[in-house]
Point group: C2
Chain length 344, copies 2
């Protein structure tokens, strides 16, 4: 039997353990997996583009386990009352090729993106960062806010979205937390006094959420929303004056903010910073950017954590995705045995 | 909710409709899909090789639906009492990117491979073919035998496997069918008088199941077992004197029997024969070969058929693979709503 964590189970297991604990444990696991980065077999994601969106398969393996995520990106879905992203993930055993775990990954991707953003900020932001501007208050926003409060020590959030309903939802959801939320009047207003700027807007287009004159010295920019070809949030001038950190260079050149720059513009892979091979922030006044697009290894880490928690809490169900004939050469016997049982 | 057809449901739905009917309906659907071959977006499969096997993702889209199969190939699994192949498949809606259907595909792959073999033989074998040699009596064998009896008119099967237990299993499973089964003493004995030769052995190695002196004029060879790099069943000389038909040339050059030949050795794609653009068998004494490796479009056809039958018969379950928040921007609300319900 294959263990399956559906939406109801992942909600139960996150609530039982606590979202803050899940984010913290996931950041630890991401950090550990980034430290063994060269061990992973990395494959570019396999994308199928259509008029309104894209469907992707993102596989990765550490030679003990193989995992992949199915993920789409359909910006027009929101207008239809659907998620722009509706993902799921799978873990298999490399030795046998058998699938052992399946999980919803829409909620889990939001959790892992936030944990990843916070982990990157721990290495790149000024250690005394307390105020974060959060621009874009969609499905990702609450997870980003809680992750930065929990893992980076953010105490004040200056929030902005063009959509008042999204803003109201964010404020309502973040009431009573261990950080204050101030609604800004514009993106430019939100970044005033911010140590960290997180952009997580959803429009699939070249947008300028953050222009050069909005970014002060020493800021860390957590650029979450620019994550596919044709979708960026930062003015190119912001990128040119900053130290840029990426997950996997070849992927980010296509999908990230740096698609706006020359193919040889210098960037640093985050695993080199996490392993201590390369410096992160070089001075207090450097502008750092984590050009986040989401890499398969992060999904691997997230799936492994949720699999562990599912087993600890019992919040999963068994599904018969894989045949278990008595004799592996007798697949046909599955049909005749069932027939015999039905007649008996 | 996503519809899920697990092993117990696929067994029930195949037995309710009848395997013969499923094979016939699937061959019709394969034929219809091959006729619209240019409409499909074809992507090479994405393979992850390890010491003992391979794990692959095989995606395809007709721009209305996107499907992919997860499939492994682990020859040593049999010795551990496991399937060499343990596959599942997914269908999604291209417009929204939402996954709508998940099915086991170990059993279903055997069914679709057999339906595909029989469909190819209808176009390539002599119409008066009545005797088939079946070499390799593993998990595929019964499905091949029934498909050829049902769809091609085979009345006599000359069966051979090096393994006596596999042979006994095949004979037991095929008792009381509308074709006779004769156990041959060797592969060479099996092919005597055969109009069609099906090779479906499982060893992952360059093997010579069929050598040049075993193949008489006018035979159709259904080469099922040679389906990955390093795994072939036919002597190269057999290939050189035959008219070779493939699914997708670029894939078969890597995975099929023709990996033994030069990259420019002439082959014909089956869709060209099925659409009537190219002749299949040119004379009664031509040797034809269907160099079967299995293409993603065939899994697409099989998944769509099983999805229809599942809906007709009710043999499926709903699984909560995809989140359905009241507000798509309020993913976080899923956690707090569940909390509020738990407290109420």
């Amino acid at each position: 039997m294959v263990q399956f964590v559906g939406v109801s189970d992942i909600v139960k297991l996150i609530n039982q353990v606590g979202l803050e604990t899940v984010l913290r444990d996931l950041a630890d696991r991401l950090e550990a997996d980034f430290k063994r980065w060269p061990e992973f077999e990395k494959t570019p994601r396999l994308a199928s583009h259509s008029r309104d969106g894209v469907i992707e398969l993102m596989p990765i393996s550490d030679h003990a386990h193989y995992a992949f995520k199915y993920v789409n990106g359909h910006p027009k879905n929101t207008a239809r009352g659907l998620q722009t992203v509706a993902a799921f993930g799978v873990v298999s055993d490399v030795d046998t090729g058998y699938t052992i775990f399946v999980s919803e990954m829409t909620l889990l991707t939001a959790v892992r993106t936030a944990a990843m953003s916070a982990l990157a900020a721990r290495y790149l932001a000024r250690p005394d960062s307390r105020t974060m501007a959060l621009i874009g208050l969609g499905a990702q926003s609450e997870f980003q806010a809680i992750a930065f409060a929990e893992l980076v020590g953010i105490e004040h959030i200056r929030a902005y979205d063009v959509d008042e309903a999204a803003t109201a939802k964010f404020v309502r959801n973040m009431r009573g937390r261990n950080f204050s939320v101030e609604v800004a009047e514009s993106a430019a207003d939100a970044v005033v006094g911010a140590d960290i700027i997180t952009t997580a807007t959803a429009d699939k287009q070249q947008a300028t959420i953050l222009s050069e004159n909005m970014v002060g010295a020493g800021v860390h920019i957590n650029a979450v929303g620019g994550d596919c070809p044709g979708k960026t949030e930062l003015e190119a001038a912001v990128l040119r004056r900053s130290a840029i950190f990426v997950e996997l260079t070849e992927q980010t050149r296509i999908e990230g903010e740096i698609q706006q720059l020359a193919q040889d513009h210098p960037v640093t892979e985050l695993w080199e910073v996490i392993t201590g091979q390369v410096e992160g922030r070089s001075s207090r006044d450097t502008v750092t950017i984590f050009d986040s697009v989401g890499f398969a290894m992060e999904d691997f880490s997230a799936l492994q954590l949720i699999r562990d928690i599912a087993q600890q809490t019992g919040h999963f169900q068994d599904i018969d995705l894989i045949v278990e004939p008595r004799d592996p050469r007798d697949l046909f016997g599955l049909l005749t045995e069932a027939d015999a049982m039905a007649e008996a």
